[in-house]
């Protein structure tokens, strides 16, 4: 429980960043909704602009807000208790992310184990199959949908395997960097953190290449039935998380290289970034097994 000696818990003064951040989210939400609902009207352009403005404002907010937090932290305002708050918040945030991915994994499992077999008459659904989709044959990956859309499967060898190795390696290099920061070995820290970021970028690059390959050569598209749906949403949201994770790590790297931030004892920002990266890595392992291999 709480320690017995209290440095006062730092309660910040008023701040404009939260409400600016809320405004940013309003613009992003409204812009994105306008944009998406007008996708079929190419002449309507307000959506992307509003969205873009919101996004820019969000970036400004993040810089301003985190800048303030870093400044406060550097000035030593944060007690051990507050650091614990940060840690716990980050852990719960990652838990919420796990649940987000779980929704899509749930959809994947449901489609594979229940929806697709049922369409072919499994369980007591013989009549569904006979009347609605007499020619449909259940299979996974679902290469031919009941409606007749055809696609090809993405093999797990090749890029996906390579990408798995890359992410695993990045987790290892990040761990090395983590140990280095704790031992105060700054050069090694910089080196291995840079390698980690680089591996992340390579991963994203390969993933983009894989998507192009899928669209061009395999006919595996976002609208290729539930196989394509789950494939793209799972890998896509994962890719988005890799992007964010790599950006965070990059910011950490810049803080270390340029500003010489973090000490062997106090480096929560770095630690949180590392947790996030490992989490993204674990998600990928699940993806690799359930989306690609099995």
């Amino acid at each position: 429980m709480a320690t017995t000696t209290h440095q006062k818990y730092y309660v910040p003064h008023d701040s404009a960043w939260p409400i600016v951040g809320a405004l940013a989210l309003l613009l992003i939400g409204y812009g994105a909704a306008t944009w998406i609902s007008q996708l079929d009207q190419p002449e309507a352009r307000s959506g992307p602009w509003v969205f873009g403005a919101g996004f820019a404002l969000l970036v400004v907010t993040l810089f301003g807000w985190f800048g303030k937090v870093i400044d406060e932290s550097q000035r030593g305002l944060y007690s051990a208790q507050l650091e614990r708050s940060f840690r716990q918040c980050m852990s719960w945030f990652i838990f919420s992310e796990v649940m987000f991915f779980l929704a899509f994994f749930g959809a994947l499992f449901y489609a594979r184990v229940v929806a697709v077999p049922w369409l072919d008459g499994a369980g007591d659904n013989a009549m569904t199959a006979a009347i609605l989709w007499p020619n449909f044959e259940a299979a996974w990956p679902l290469l031919q949908t009941p409606g007749g859309t055809a696609t090809q499967a993405m093999p797990w060898t090749g890029i996906p395997l390579l990408n798995t190795l890359i992410l695993l390696a990045s987790s290892v290099t990040l761990q090395v960097a983590h140990v280095a920061i704790e031992q105060g070995k700054r050069l090694r820290l910089k080196l291995f953190l840079s390698i980690t970021v680089l591996l992340g970028v390579v991963f994203l690059f390969l993933q983009g290449y894989e998507y192009m390959h899928a669209y061009r050569d395999l006919g595996l598209r976002l609208d290729s039935g539930v196989y394509g749906n789950t494939f793209y949403l799972l890998t896509g949201f994962h890719g988005l998380h890799v992007t964010i994770g790599a950006l965070i790590l990059l910011v950490m790297l810049l803080r270390i290289v340029i500003k010489d931030h973090f000490t062997a004892q106090r480096h929560f920002g770095f630690q949180a970034a590392a947790w996030y990266w490992h989490f993204v890595d674990v998600v990928w392992l699940n993806l690799f097994v359930f989306v690609y291999v099995l």
Partner: protein, 536 residues
């Protein structure tokens, strides 16, 4: 464990914190930029009040249309928009933010913390909410109108057959989710990390316990809601077929994912109310709560069970029999911990020296009427019976008993109970009693006959009905209008306190009140427990 407290600043703290003890920013800035848990709590509560009346107005439209059979005032599509937006506004705009507001105000006071764990995030969580509802409510004025697929937005109603407001609805829900998740993280970490020395787990007030568990539920299921609305979005606009059999998906899958969120969600809306009632009953019975540990265990078991009962909303979708049976028995199991709670509340009053101020009246009404809702829930949990009841007004009766006379009555009880502490002014007991009795009578006029018309087969979400339901519907509509009007008394009572009209409240306010929040002056100073109190 040592309970010694040293409140001195070390060198670091002194450097960065020249805070004048009661320094309070002035004007609009105080509210826009706040990092103060009390101000943010107030903002949440006022927002919730505004949404209560917004959602309430939509309900008045529904009841006006249903006053007589036939189509009277609105066309069916608009009627569907009303039921949909009413549900969304009440669930995400009125009930949930009210509880977050209460958590903001009371949890730091109850556990002896200086504020919430991350005050700026706290402010962000709040301000996202009005933004989300601005987006949602703007759809009412769009061409094609607001979402009309019901607050449960089942596919394909929300995908194939929905209007262009769908994208706005989805993005609005995303923002609500972001707000709730951040709010919940703040609550959970505050409770976990910021209890005053000596405030052990088993000394936590029950409101804090129930909120801890609620926050866990929120963090666990709001992301799942985000996931399912995302799938709705891609199904509608990007050609995916998660919920479309032609592409290998399944509309029933929507229901599985939605209700995996949805059932824990209904407990999110009731557990804090359990906490409130468990706080109020002992005060006015002047006895400690009966069975504190069993209350905690019951809350935790309810939360656990709430993850494995979602299928009871889907009995008629043709799940395999084994699944149906599993969901039926698991659902019935929830009645056990719920029964423990009701028993404990009653046992707390047993031989107490009771008085019946308004918070107590609402709590007593809560116990009786929530239990009616629990019983109708049990009836709905019986598969063959549910085949008959599903999608009738019986279901509407059930969830309005648990949500209005449950959650909302809990919130109102909490407001009356703590508003003297917030404003330093005692509410007008006479006015409040009138409010209570008007609400009690009208709410039952409104919702009780729904059981009967439901059992007799009146379907929900339809603007017209068969002639034999006419009398009861007229009666229910009158109850509805009266209930709506009665809440103006509540508004008046709250405004009086906020404007300082009324007797000055004492620090303890209630003779039998227990807990740290009553140790501080009324109104509670802007900053409390800068130095943690020692709890023995």
């Amino acid at each position: 464990m040592s309970t010694q407290v040293t409140g001195t600043l070390d060198a670091h703290g002194a450097a960065g914190r020249p805070r004048d003890h009661d320094h309070k920013p002035r004007g609009l800035a105080r509210w826009l930029f706040s990092t103060n848990h009390k101000d943010i709590g107030t903002l949440y509560l006022l927002f919730s009040l505004a949404m209560l009346f917004t959602g309430g107005s939509l309900a008045m439209v529904i009841r006006a249309e249903l006053f007589q059979p036939g189509l009277q005032f609105v066309d069916p599509h608009f009627f569907n928009q009303m039921t949909t937006v009413h549900g969304l506004v009440m669930v995400f705009g009125a009930v949930m933010p009210a509880f977050v507001g209460l958590a903001n105000w009371m949890i730091p006071l109850m556990i002896g913390a200086p504020d919430m764990a991350l005050p700026r995030i706290n402010n962000w969580s709040f301000w996202i909410l009005p933004c989300a509802f601005a987006i949602l409510l703007s759809t009412l004025f769009m061409e094609g109108g607001a979402p009309a697929a019901g607050w449960t937005f089942y596919a394909p109603l929300s995908t194939k057959y929905s209007g262009d407001s769908t994208a706005f609805f989805v993005l609005a829900v995303h923002l609500m989710g972001v707000s709730s998740i951040m709010g919940a993280i703040n609550v959970i970490v505050t409770i976990w990390n910021m209890r005053a020395p000596g405030m052990g787990w088993m000394k936590l007030p029950l409101f804090v316990w129930t909120w801890l568990i609620t926050a866990f539920l929120l963090i666990a299921v709001m992301p799942v809601l985000a996931g399912v609305v995302t799938m709705v979005l891609t199904d509608k606009y990007f050609g995916t077929s998660f919920f479309d059999a032609a592409g290998g998906g399944d509309p029933v899958m929507f229901q599985h994912i939605f209700w995996f969120f949805g059932h824990p969600e209904v407990y999110i809306m009731i557990l804090p109310a359990f906490g409130i009632v468990s706080t109020i009953i002992p005060t006015f019975a002047r006895k400690p709560l009966f069975g504190y540990e069993s209350m905690v265990i019951a809350t935790a078991s309810i939360a656990f069970l709430s993850f494995i009962v979602w299928g009871h909303h889907m009995f008629t979708t043709g799940m395999p029999v084994v699944a149906e049976l599993f969901f039926m028995y698991a659902t019935m199991l929830i009645a056990v911990p719920t029964g423990v709670k009701v028993f404990n509340w009653v046992a707390t009053m047993w031989r107490g020296s009771m008085t019946f101020e308004v918070p107590m009246m609402f709590s007593l009404a809560f116990i009786v009427l929530f239990t009616i809702g629990g019983f109708s829930g049990l009836m709905l949990a019986i598969i063959p019976a549910d085949f008959q009841y599903q999608d009738t007004y019986f279901v509407v009766a059930h969830f309005h008993y648990v949500l209005v006379t449950g959650a909302v009555f809990g919130i109102i009880a909490a407001v009356y109970y703590w508003i003297p502490k917030w404003t330093g002014v005692m509410y007008d007991e006479r006015l409040a009693q009138v409010h209570f009795w008007c609400s009690l009578v009208s709410v039952n006029m409104l919702f009780f006959p729904m059981h009967f018309v439901g059992l007799a087969g009146m379907p929900r979400r339809i603007p017209d009905y068969a002639l034999q339901f006419a009398d009861l519907n007229a009666f229910m509509s009158i109850g509805g209008f009266l209930f709506g009007l009665s809440q103006l008394l509540f508004l008046w009572g709250v405004v009086r306190c906020m404007r300082g009209i009324g007797d000055k409240a004492t620090d303890r306010v209630w003779e039998g009140a227990q807990g740290l929040e009553w140790e501080v002056p009324s109104p509670a100073p802007y900053h409390t427990f800068d130095t943690p109190p020692v709890v023995k």
